[in-house]
Amino acid sequence: MADRLERLLNLTAALLEASVPLTADDIRERVPGYPADAGETFRRAFERDKESLRHMGIPVRTEDLPNADPPVPGYRIRREEYALADPGLEPDELAALNLAVATVQVDGLSSGDAINKLGGASETGDGPAVELPSMPNLGPLFAAAAAGAVVEFRHNDKDRVVDPYRLSFQRGRWYLDGRDHATQEPRSYRLDRIEGSVTVGPPNGFERKPLTGRGMLPPWEMGGETPMAALVRVDADQAPFACDTVGREHVATMHDDGSVDLLLTVSNRDAFRSFVLGFLDHAEVLSPPELRDDIIAWLQGIR
């Protein structure tokens, strides 16, 4: 396959060198290794090469030739679109990134090419200690969030138009946090519930508004009910887990026996009840009476 590699290299050089788009005929004449006839064999070989280059991320543009009537398609690669901006990494920084990709494996995505583009790997660790699942739309959604491009996709049987703010990996799943165009509200979308592929709009398609706090709201704050302050006691055994889940800032009291009282704002009772019952008999709603009675009535309904 040496001749194909040679042809691909020469094709890339020719397209990078071109200051005006090259026609298919230009390419056949200037890049060695193509069939001499401008027939179907050449057309197929050229299409396949173009596809190969684009597949590896080389931005081969199709542009109409200037001053041609009728329009004639031409091809080129713009240098500024081709080249990786130099991040200017120090050796210890490159080594740290290298260790990161050796330690954290995103399933199905190879990191070797990425590290090579940054100047190569010096060594690898003893296998990944962290595995992140990959999703079909992960790459495009990340690029869209980074570029500020509006995305469209089908999610839970509904077509959505969303300003993508960020990708978030929580409790073993990938989410897209963003603003839904239909409701103009912040929302999280589970990536595994997106059907088919994502359509990405042009860059800088929306203005970022600050999302509420760090991450998205906990479920018991995601509701239209009048917010209520609730005090929940969690036993010592479950306290560390509970504190991590709600955030340390919600710990109202830490008792000597290791149990904690959590102060939560509740605007979604169903979600709040669900959270508290997840602790079985290791947690108890202390106040307000309204929410406490709600739990009691719910449990009595199960008996």
Binding site: G57, D86, A100, A147, D281
Partner: protein, 316 residues
């Protein structure tokens, strides 16, 4: 050795050429180690470079490769003087991996990884803090280091462990083999002396860990990494779900899902542990009806939780 495709070789060359061109005659062995390529592969690929350039392929528009002793120079490769930009997937891999590792307790938030990540994000014009967030699961500070140290030194450890599925705390001695994060949680894989078998422990359920003086012989090969799942369970339950409880079918692995009409579902699922089922049924309340399986689980659990509320005076 598997034959590498022309595409893969091109991808590799487009990374190697700018690096060699920017460094004054690096050692061939260093280039091979750095880019993970054998000397034979490297030499075959760069040999080809000498015939590459642009029309009319006269000496002044061809690349030049010079090999002297154990060193290599590449010149006149101006088309390829910068590496190819990262694909979205590559950028994601780098930034997500870096963010994930930074989130591991004990990592220096101002160390080389944080600095490298910030520079990379700058070059990619990505706000790394904004565009991606990775939570690997909760680990008490210091526990990861303690366990890693014990694994490295092959020392036994004693755990105070909370078994979520059985809702019980136990003390047990383990031989820790491996510690890793997968599917959002941290796990330690170990030989458990109480069970006399390989067991998996979640780090966020370890209340305390102490390293013992006793050592152990680690297995020659580790069993495959796994995560907690209900697959090994034998118990089965069949539930009818009201429309508002349909989310259960998307949240947990199901053996069978059947539409009952009007938005109701009948689902069959495996149950690993009693406490897990109790939680699910208490949360669902009237949203779920047990069609097959132990119908006493939910009432008994509800009774137990209620006992906590009766006789306790509300705080305010």
């Amino acid at each position: 050795m598997a034959r590498t495709s022309a595409d893969d070789r091109l991808r590799r060359l487009l990374a190697i050429v700018p690096w060699v061109a920017a460094n004054d005659g690096p050692k061939i062995a260093d280039v091979c180690a750095r880019f993970g390529v054998s000397q034979a592969e490297l030499l075959a690929d760069v040999d080809l470079l000498q015939y590459c350039g642009v029309y009319p392929f006269t000496a002044d528009v061809l690349m030049e490769v010079r090999l002297e002793e154990d060193r290599i120079w590449i010149q006149y490769a101006d088309w390829f003087n910068r590496p190819l930009r990262l694909t979205p997937e590559e950028a994601l891999t780098l930034v997500a991996s870096g963010r994930a590792l930074l989130a591991v307790p004990g990592n220096d938030p101002e160390g080389p990884l944080a600095r490298g990540l910030a520079k990379l994000a700058d070059a990619l014009q990505v706000d790394a803090d904004e565009a991606i967030e990775v939570h690997l699961g909760n680990v008490p500070a210091g526990m990861l280091d303690t366990l890693r140290g014990a694994i490295a030194a092959s020392r036994q450890v004693e755990l105070d462990y909370y078994t979520y599925g059985r809702d019980a705390r136990t003390r047990r001695v383990i031989d820790p083999w491996d510690v890793y994060a997968a599917e959002g949680e941290w796990y330690v894989q170990a030989f458990c002396h109480a069970a006399q078998a390989e067991r998996l422990f979640r780090l966020d359920r370890i209340r305390s860990v102490s390293v013992l003086d006793r050592t152990f012989d680690p297995p020659a090969t580790l069993p495959p990494r796994r995560v907690f799942s209900a697959e090994e369970a034998d118990a089965r339950i069949v539930l009818d779900l009201e429309p508002w409880a349909r989310w259960v079918a998307g949240q947990y692995p199901m053996e069978a899902v059947e539409e009952l009409g009007e938005g109701r579902l009948r689902v069959t699922m495996k149950i690993a542990e009693q406490a897990w089922l109790e939680r699910l049924l208490l949360r669902l309340g009237p949203g779920a009806t047990v069609v097959e399986g132990d119908t006493s689980v939910a009432p008994a659990a509800a009774e137990r939780v209620l006992r906590r509320y009766t006789g306790t005076v509300a705080a305010s």
